[in-house]
């Protein structure tokens, strides 16, 4: 039986790899959302269900990574960043997966029809929100490099630029969401009132995907040395 040496026990589990894994899974949840609406537009309820199942599975996987990460982040660990800031980034990442799950859940629970005039802008919005999540994945992917450079210098500038880019994408989604909502309300008389309410809710949720992605970036920026 070989006991771990003193030096080995000095090294705790780094939280950064699991953070990257986690946002990878969360972004994959979000990436299912456009497909979900495509299936819905095509009236293919079976595919909606199978995509919903996949999202639920991925969300579960993200939850597992999150819980595992939290369990291995005791206060006795010395981290290069503030522990609470890091956990907040993690929460924001997790909200992406949760939001995708909410969207899928609603589409499963209440069969909805996509109004013809909303189809294209709706898909465009979902794709742009996925872009935002992908950008967040890239930003979290820079954590290794940030540790190497001590969260300062050129690398930190680079990450700041990436966050700025993410903010731009999010602004796009805001505008697209507003436009989509206006279209929805423009034809509210032709739709069932309850459907209008739920479509309004759904558009908000889709936008939330990008909102949370943006928050991941903004919270991460707090970790950079100023």
């Amino acid at each position: 039986m070989v006991k771990p040496s003193t030096l080995t026990s000095l090294f705790g589990r780094s939280p950064f790899k699991p953070m990257q894994e986690h946002i990878g899974v969360a972004a994959r949840c979000a990436a299912q959302v456009p497909e979900l609406f495509e299936a819905l537009s095509a009236g293919d309820q079976e595919r909606v269900v199978s995509i919903k199942d996949r999202i639920y599975e991925l969300e579960q996987e993200a939850d597992d990574i999150k819980n595992e990460l939290r369990a291995h982040l005791p206060k006795s660990l010395f981290l290069p960043v503030d522990r609470r800031d890091l956990l907040e980034v993690l929460d924001m990442q997790d909200s992406i997966a949760d939001t995708a799950q909410d969207i899928a859940g609603l589409l499963f629970e209440r069969p909805m029809e996509v109004p013809e005039k909303l189809k294209d802008p709706l898909l465009a919005l979902t794709h742009r929100c996925v872009d935002a999540c992908d950008q967040a994945v890239k930003i979290i992917g820079e954590l290794d490099e940030l540790v190497e450079t001590g969260f300062r210098g050129r690398e930190s500038d680079r990450v700041s630029e990436m966050v700025a880019e993410l903010n731009k994408i999010e602004t796009d989604t805001d505008e697209m969401g507003t436009e989509l909502t206006r279209r929805l309300f423009a034809q509210e008389d032709e739709m069932k009132p309850v459907s209008v309410m739920f479509w309004y809710e759904l558009i908000q949720w889709i936008g939330d995907l990008a909102d949370y992605a943006e928050k991941v970036g903004n919270r991460l920026r707090l970790l950079l040395a100023r």
Binding site: K3, S5, T8, F11, G12, L77, P80
Partner: protein, 421 residues
């Protein structure tokens, strides 16, 4: 006097066996920590580490091991009250060796971060109090030694911190980190060779009858540094940029430049460890040898024979080959956080600190200094997660090791005394 004349060879035989046992233990348990920063960073394989350790532990012991050995042998105890009973010192040194070895064995099977150095110092002090009296301990010297135990990890950490910051300034935070790494790499390698050889050679090596003046020491160290830097330069030049790996991790190619550089710090670290820790095993052995050779002259001034240092080096290598490699194997898989740049900073800092301590005759803990150096890199925000509980464990082991080593030594001392008188 008669006892030593009568049983002299037996005493020396026991001392050699205990000394070998102690150095074997050091090789088996300690060396994994020493080579850990190098193996853990993936810069060298376990096999390379063992070969490096075998050569440089031995070299460190033989070339620079004399000062600390002298401290263990003569620095801690004032033997003047027992000039007429030299056998007391023989029993005491044998008891101290055995006590330290036993305590280390218990601690290492439990995974406690106990230092070999602290054990042997505690054991020698324990015997001195029990066998001679409280006044026989040179408390001033003990104070210095204990202070060095606190100071040396802090110093190692500070140097590691500065090195890490300098690597970031000069290499990582530039337009082309890869080219900067290639440009500055040989300078860092020079630093390794220069610092280690300067500290070792400073004012010459008495037991090798090598006399050097201060400017001569600097000159020789600079030449050695340049030769090593040239070898390093040739090795670094062969490193090519790896586009595929860079995509995933921008500094992947920079890290590759530091891989050959880490071979030099690994050598330095093994050398440093040999120069300091071999004394733990052979210091008491040297004391017994001196007493037996001089026929019981307590205040003997005879020089330390080289074969004793070499015996210590040999013990470490055997420990390494029989058991140490197993401990080392676990390290490579457990420490993934140490990239070559971080490993370089930590190892270089630790090696320099240990060699400096060896030169001033301070028996320090190489493992604790390595922990301090890694902490220094961590403080530069360079490591994903460090478990601070280890620091608590180290502090507890300090507090526990001195009295336990001392009590064991006292017990063994009275046992040996009872057997032979």
């Amino acid at each position: 006097m008669e006892i030593i004349a009568e049983h002299g060879t037996v005493f020396l035989g026991i001392a050699i066996i205990f000394g070998l046992y102690m150095t074997w233990g050091i090789g088996a348990n300690d060396v994994a920590n020493v080579m850990g920063t190098s193996v853990g960073s993936g810069a060298i394989t376990v096999m390379t580490a063992i070969i490096i350790a075998a050569i440089f532990e031995f070299a460190g012991a033989a070339l620079a091991g004399g000062h600390v050995t002298k401290t263990i042998r003569k620095g801690i105890i004032d033997p003047s009250p027992i000039v007429n009973n030299p056998e007391i010192l023989v029993f005491g040194m044998l008891a101290a060796l055995l006590a330290a070895a036993v305590w280390l064995m218990i601690a290492s099977t439990r995974g406690w971060p106990v230092s070999t150095t602290h054990s042997i110092v505690g054991a020698v002090v324990g015997f001195a109090i029990a066998g001679i009296g409280v006044d026989a301990v040179q408390w001033g010297k003990i104070g210095q030694i204990v202070a060095s135990w606190v100071l040396s990890p802090v110093l190692g950490g500070t140097v590691a911190f500065i090195l890490m910051i300098s690597i970031r300034r000069l290499i990582l935070n530039t337009d082309n980190p890869f080219l900067s790494a290639k440009r500055w790499g040989p300078a860092y390698v020079f630093l390794v060779g220069f610092v280690i050889s300067l500290v070792t050679l400073f004012k010459g090596l008495k037991h090798l009858e090598l006399e050097l003046s201060v400017p001569m020491s600097f000159l020789v160290a600079a030449i050695i540094g340049l030769v090593i830097a040239a070898i390093g330069w040739a090795m670094i030049n062969r490193v090519r940029i790896d586009e595929a790996a860079n995509k995933d991790y921008h500094f992947a190619s920079v890290e590759k430049v530091f891989v050959p550089m880490m071979i030099f710090t690994a050598c330095a670290m093994a050398f440093a460890h040999g120069s300091n820790d071999v004394a733990n095993g052979v210091g008491p052995l040297a004391a017994v040898y001196g007493l037996v050779e001089s026929g019981g002259e307590v205040a003997q001034t005879s020089a330390l024979p080289l074969w004793i240092l070499m015996l210590g080096g040999f013990g470490i290598v055997v420990g390494l080959a029989t058991f140490g490699y197993r401990v080392m194997r676990t390290i490579g898989t457990r420490i993934t956080e140490l990239t070559p740049t971080r490993g370089f900073s930590a190892t270089m800092a630790a090696a320099a600190t240990v060699v400096l301590a060896s030169r001033t005759g301070m028996p320090v803990s190489t493992t604790h200094i390595a922990v301090g150096a890694v902490m220094g890199v961590g403080l530069a925000r360079g490591i994903g997660a460090l478990d601070l509980r280890v620091i608590g464990g180290i502090v507890v082991s300090w507090i526990a090791t001195l009295p336990i080593g001392g009590i064991l030594a006292a017990l063994f001392f009275f046992t040996l005394k009872g057997i032979f008188t």
